[in-house]
């Protein structure tokens, strides 16, 4: 399909002798939102890292816009309009908020610059109040907003959020989900890795659940929301 952004075909990934991903298929098209869910250690982040070249899959293929990126370096995949908000945030703590944002500013792959510094400020007014603060001075919620803002400055076609609200208080988490929902409306495709099935399925069109490195559910968000027993079985605590 011409509007396919990112695909994984039969991915097998290992950490040493541990077989983590067992032949996973994944795909996301332009403008889609996919909730990638599962308990801790089920392979969600490994799937993302395998598709981005951060971890090398042993078997299988990764396609970006139909081209083979299985053996590409991470920056080459990112240059195809894919922005990654990693678990743990990864801001540059010695740089100011402004510097963190400006250092990642670039046009999208078709040359558009819809996400300017000012637009990111409008989306995250809180960052405007902290603009000259160092990254190390930010709270966890502010750091998360900065990481998402920094990703948007690359004018991506696909935004991947890995555990964006992990460790954040419920009020902040709700605010981040509200903002992500607004970002989704702009047409950016989004993969959201999270355990909060209620929040992510209300934002995304499709959902996927991983258990021990295998897909146990792939369907629409409406389908998964209509199956609370499945949610309880695979995501319940």
């Amino acid at each position: 399909m011409s509007n396919m952004l990112l695909e994984a075909k039969e991915l097998h990934t290992y950490y040493g002798a541990s077989h983590i991903l067992h032949g996973i298929d994944f795909n996301i098209r332009e403008g889609e939102g996919i909730a990638l869910m599962g308990r801790n250690g089920m392979g969600k982040s490994t799937l993302i890292k395998s598709m981005l070249g951060i971890v090398r899959p042993k078997h299988g293929r990764v396609l970006v816009r139909g081209d083979d990126y299985t053996r590409s370096r991470t920056y080459q995949t990112a240059q195809q309009g894919i922005a990654y908000v990693p678990e743990g945030r990864g801001i540059f703590k010695s740089l100011s908020v402004r510097e963190n944002l400006l250092m990642s500013a670039r046009a999208g792959i078709d040359g558009r610059r819809e996400w300017t510094f000012d637009r990111v400020m409008d989306t995250f007014p809180r960052l405007g109040e902290r603009i000259n603060n160092g990254g190390w001075q930010l709270s966890g919620g502010e750091q998360q907003m900065l990481t998402i803002g920094r990703a948007l400055m690359t004018n991506p076609d696909l935004l991947i959020l890995d555990e964006a609200t992990e460790g954040l208080a419920p009020l902040i988490a709700m605010e981040i989900w509200r903002i992500v929902k607004e970002i989704r409306k702009t047409g950016i495709a989004t993969v959201i890795v999270d355990k909060n099935h209620g929040a992510v399925t209300s934002i995304c069109d499709r959902a996927m659940i991983l258990v021990k490195g295998q897909v146990v559910f792939a369907g629409t968000s409406d389908e998964i929301r209509a199956q609370p027993e499945l949610i309880q079985k695979h995501l319940g605590v």
Binding site: P125, R126, S139, G140, G141, E142, L168, A169, P170, L171, I172, A173, M174, E175, R178, G198, A199, S202, D222, E223, R225, A226
Partner: protein
């Protein structure tokens, strides 16, 4: 079958739960001496709980979901009546919370214990209420209401122009303001 009205209620419960959790955490931190009271913030949180769940969320449940289920399931009647009674008590409960806050503001530290107690009571009641809806009423509704019933309820919920955000986004703006005012780690404030 997807039931959009229940999805909307779940979403609204999540927002309310986040606000209640934030209010309780702030009160606990004040008690522990880690925070000084910010009365404007506390008043904004109480205002949110009053305006959104009490004045928007509960009436919608009463008017559409409970009313239809009342016609369809005799088994659901005791649960509906209990939940409707709790909705009717909602105004008195939020007034008690508001009065405890006003008293705390006026008396200073001497009024904290009563305010903290009022917060704990309100939060506990709301948790029980939301749990009862999700664990008792929703299963009964799913078992009793027909596809046509749900279509009607869903249409009513969806036609409500997203009242949770407010006609002009004012409730959403209030929520964001609270997140920005609330001190870390509860919110983003410093």
């Amino acid at each position: 079958m997807t039931i959009q009205s229940l999805d909307i209620i779940h979403d609204e419960h999540r927002a309310l739960a986040a606000m209640l959790s934030g209010l309780r955490a702030i009160a606990t931190n004040i008690e522990a001496g880690r925070l000084k009271p910010d009365f404007d913030l506390l008043a904004s949180m109480v205002e949110y709980i009053d305006k959104v769940p009490e004045k928007v969320h509960h009436p919608k449940e009463d008017q559409y979901l409970f009313a239809k289920l009342r016609l369809r399931s005799a088994d659901a009647l005791p649960v509906i009546e209990r939940l409707e009674a709790e909705h009717r008590q909602g105004e008195a409960r939020i007034n008690a919370l508001r009065a405890a806050l006003a008293s705390y503001r006026q008396q200073g530290e001497a009024g904290f214990a009563d305010f903290h107690e009022a917060v704990k009571t309100y939060v506990e009641q709301e948790w029980k209420h939301m749990n009862a809806e999700e664990r008792e009423l929703f299963p009964l509704a799913k078992a009793s209401l027909t596809a046509e019933d749900w279509a009607e309820i869903d249409a009513a919920f969806l036609a409500n122009d997203n009242p949770w955000q407010g006609a002009a986004g004012e409730y959403e703006a209030l929520f964001s303001r609270i997140v920005n005012l609330a001190p870390a780690p509860v919110g983003l404030g410093g």
